[in-house]
């Protein structure tokens, strides 16, 4: 393992040791048999020398385990393909200048937290004046008209409003992911947008703490942003994407 420069695996205190920490609960009574069960599960996950370092009875029917072991697995780091949204991050001023020069008009961006999700802090962080962590939101961009519909917006309302405002981009937030609620809502929205035949016309962007670019693409969106996103990231992607489309259309 140590030989190959680009073969990587987990590291505890020695290159290639594969040290991994694991924890889970089994719905069984604590005891020697339970301990064995935990070791078997760890072994099935490919851990060598698995060790149960904690077996804690939660109650007579559940036992919590913490384990350490060494994974046999490793991977060729050099071969990893990340499809990162191909855009450079620009500063707000740049973005505004770019908009003026490229489009010669204000861009209209409409955003909402759809379904029954009331977590607006995320979308507010991107869209509102105040912004997030000292990074001002899209509202503060002179060349962007930012409309934030807020929490619990039905997909229909969002789409209708987007059409009437001739939005250049739709920004959607989903924070509640339990029972994959976010996937259901994202899917529902894209279906409506396609039904209305406007999915192509607008740049569709999703975000949320558990959103990744891959996920967004899978669902048919143009981009997805997760934890720690700043407004300028979104704006940079947006203007570059729109510029790209403009030239394509020629």
């Amino acid at each position: 393992m140590n030989e190959h420069v680009d073969l990587v695996t987990a590291y505890g205190d020695t290159r290639g040791d594969g040290a991994v920490q694991l924890s889970f609960t089994l719905p069984v009574t604590s005891g020697e048999k339970a301990r064995q069960a935990a070791l078997i599960l760890a072994a099935k996950m490919g851990l060598e020398e698995p060790r149960v370092v904690l077996m804690d009875p939660i109650d007579p029917t559940f036992t919590y385990f913490i384990l350490y072991g060494r994974t046999r697995e490793s991977l060729d780091f050099s071969s990893i393909q990340v499809h990162e949204a191909a855009y450079e991050i620009m500063a707000p001023e740049e973005i505004n200048r770019f908009i003026r020069e490229t489009f010669g008009r204000k861009l209209v961006v409409i955003g909402a937290c759809i379904g029954s999700d009331a977590h607006t802090v995320g979308i507010d962080a991107i869209m509102n004046m105040k912004g997030y962590d000292m990074h001002k939101g899209l509202e503060s961009y002179p060349e962007i008209r930012a409309l934030n519909l807020g929490a619990q917006v039905p997909c229909e309302t969002l789409v209708a409003r987007a059409m009437e405002e001739k939005a250049d981009a739709v920004l959607v937030s989903q924070v509640v992911t339990q029972k994959n609620a976010h996937l259901k809502n994202f899917t529902r929205l894209i279906e409506i947008l396609e039904a209305e035949g406007i999915a192509e016309r607008m740049v569709l962007i999703v975000g949320g703490p558990q959103v990744t670019l891959e996920l967004a693409k899978e669902l048919g969106y143009d981009a997805g942003f997760g934890r720690g996103t700043y407004p300028e990231h979104v704006a940079s992607f947006l203007v570059q994407e729109l510029a790209g489309r403009k030239t394509k259309r020629g």
Partner: protein
């Protein structure tokens, strides 16, 4: 903990202003009722069950009366008159009413006194049922006793009440004193109570009679096993707030999250609707001997805990006054606050200590509920356990009554069974290790902590007096709480607000207020 030296005068001014704010707001809504209040009344008069398409009878009756512009007299009046006319079961009457089989124009005339009498005797039965479950609670508490303060409050939120029950039992065995079943994400915006055995919840579990019973049973069972009464919490909020109060009271829930403004601010429910609903709901909760938990903690998720600490205090004064005006005893008023300060801030622990101690002193007779860090929790579940440890320390140092256990996985998912287990271990250790530290240390007069507390108090006084001047509804529309603005005409459920007619009657409210002294 040694007492903070706080100005009595300032505290007095704050209370006085808050009392004015509550009074003025109640005056504004005096002449109005809501569909939710009327549905709650019907339920207490015996209208239960659902239509074959699963809509509660209370809903269809009230909607029908609303569509006929008859609701202004109060649902009770029509229901009782209709019943007297036929004398069938409450459900039969309801069915006939909505089938249009009742000709409201030509109902047999009843003497007003007579009508009032019948309404009151039905209402009395309704309240008796609540009183009974209240006394059952009191007996069990007397028999089993309760945990030691700060009471350990844990949440379950699997979305499936049976899974919740399994986890609640495990939590109780691990030391939980209070179990809160977090409510399905979308429920608070439903203008009806979903029928029993209905859908899987998301981010929480459906709240309805059936589910209340499942959990109550599970907790009674484990209470016996442990020899400690385990309290049950749910939400008295959203568009069905008054009905939740009824169901909770009937099914012997012990605690309910109930805030005079949360729905307005965080669920965009119309404010007039909310103020009416909360006023009536709280009177019911008072009667049922339940504890409410207010939601000031939520403000700190959208506004900064350091900058806006005074808005929490101001809101607590307001919630206190609304509660008292609904007949809740101080011992039933669980005011909420939270450890939401940025961990990046130097001396953050000192500021939280100041806030917690101040709240404890100012609301000495209220069972203050302290909420854990949530907003600044991250995917680092190891560090999360440390953030919770300092929160636990402040709680036991300042001797809070109800302690909501923070989860290391707060930023990730609703709790897994072992998340609670780890949090209970954290709390056990920290509470034990610093149990009497509070008694052993004294605040340096004029120190950082004391100064911080007085500043927050002063700002709260200013804010309350400003609000007293402009009115609470105006204050909300100026985003004075949580940095979120709502308009008087905006929000959900306004269509459910109805101006009372001169001969409007709500027999339940009548009895509740007449008998307030009792509760």
């Amino acid at each position: 903990m040694g007492e903070l030296n706080l100005s009595e005068a300032e505290v007095g001014r704050a209370r006085e202003a808050a009392a004015r704010i509550a009074a003025d707001t109640l005056a504004e809504i005096e002449g109005k009722t809501t569909v939710a209040v009327e549905r709650a009344v019907l339920r207490l008069l015996g209208v239960e069950g659902v239509t074959q398409d699963g809509v509660p009878w209370s809903n269809v009756v009230v909607d029908d009366l609303l569509s006929r512009d008859l609701l202004d007299k109060g649902a009770a009046v029509w229901f009782v008159r209709a019943r007297t006319a036929d004398g069938g079961s409450p459900e039969d009457t309801a069915r006939r009413m909505v089938r249009g089989e009742v000709d409201y124009g030509s109902l047999p005339r009843v003497e007003p006194e007579d009508l009032r009498g019948r309404m009151r005797s039905l209402a009395r039965e309704g309240l008796d049922r609540i009183d009974r479950s209240r006394s059952v609670r009191e007996e069990r508490l007397a028999e089993l006793g309760r945990g030691r303060e700060p009471l350990r409050y844990l949440i379950v939120a699997t979305g499936d009440i049976h899974e919740d029950a399994i986890q609640a039992r495990a939590a109780a065995r691990g030391g939980a004193d209070i179990i809160a079943v977090i409510r399905h994400t979308a429920q608070s915006l439903l203008d009806y109570v979903p029928e029993d055995g209905s859908i899987q919840g998301v981010g929480g579990t459906i709240a309805n009679r059936g589910n209340f019973r499942v959990m109550r049973e599970a907790l009674d069972e484990v209470s016996e096993e442990l020899g400690r009464y385990i309290f049950l919490t749910n939400y008295c909020s959203g568009l069905c707030m008054p009905e939740m109060a009824v169901l909770g009271a009937q099914e012997r829930l012990d605690v309910m999250l109930n805030d005079s403004m949360y729905g307005v601010i965080f669920r965009d429910i119309n404010m007039v609707r909310t103020f009416i609903d909360q006023h009536f709901s709280r009177a019911l909760l008072a009667r049922a001997g339940m504890m409410i938990n207010t939601g000031e903690d939520n403000y700190l998720t959208t506004s900064d805990a350091f900058e806006k600490a005074h808005t929490v205090l101001a809101s607590q004064f307001i919630n206190e006054q609304f509660a008292l005006k609904s007949g809740l005893a101080p011992g039933q008023i669980g005011l909420g606050h939270a450890f939401e300060i940025s961990p990046k801030l130097e001396d953050s622990f000192l500021f939280e200590l100041a806030q917690a101690q101040m709240v404890r002193q100012i609301f000495a007779d209220c069972p203050v509920k302290y909420m854990p860090p949530t907003k600044y929790m991250t995917g680092n579940i190891f560090q999360g356990n440390v953030q919770n440890a300092l929160f636990n320390a402040v709680s036991v140092l300042t001797d809070q009554s109800v302690h909501l256990l923070g989860m290391p996985t707060e930023a990730l998912h609703t709790p897994h069974v072992h998340d609670r287990h780890l949090s209970l271990e954290n709390v056990d250790y920290v509470f034990r290790a610093i149990r009497h530290l509070g008694e052993d240390i004294v605040f340096r007069p004029g120190g950082r902590i004391e100064t911080r507390a007085s500043n927050v108090l002063d700002k709260a006084v200013d804010m309350l007096e400003e609000i007293a001047g402009m009115g609470l509804m105006q204050a909300i529309s100026e985003a004075m709480f949580a940095d979120i603005a709502r308009t008087r005409e905006g929000g959900k459920g306004l269509e459910g607000v109805v101006a009372k007619a001169g001969d409007y009657c709500n027999p339940i409210a009548e009895l509740l207020w007449e008998e307030r002294a009792l509760s």
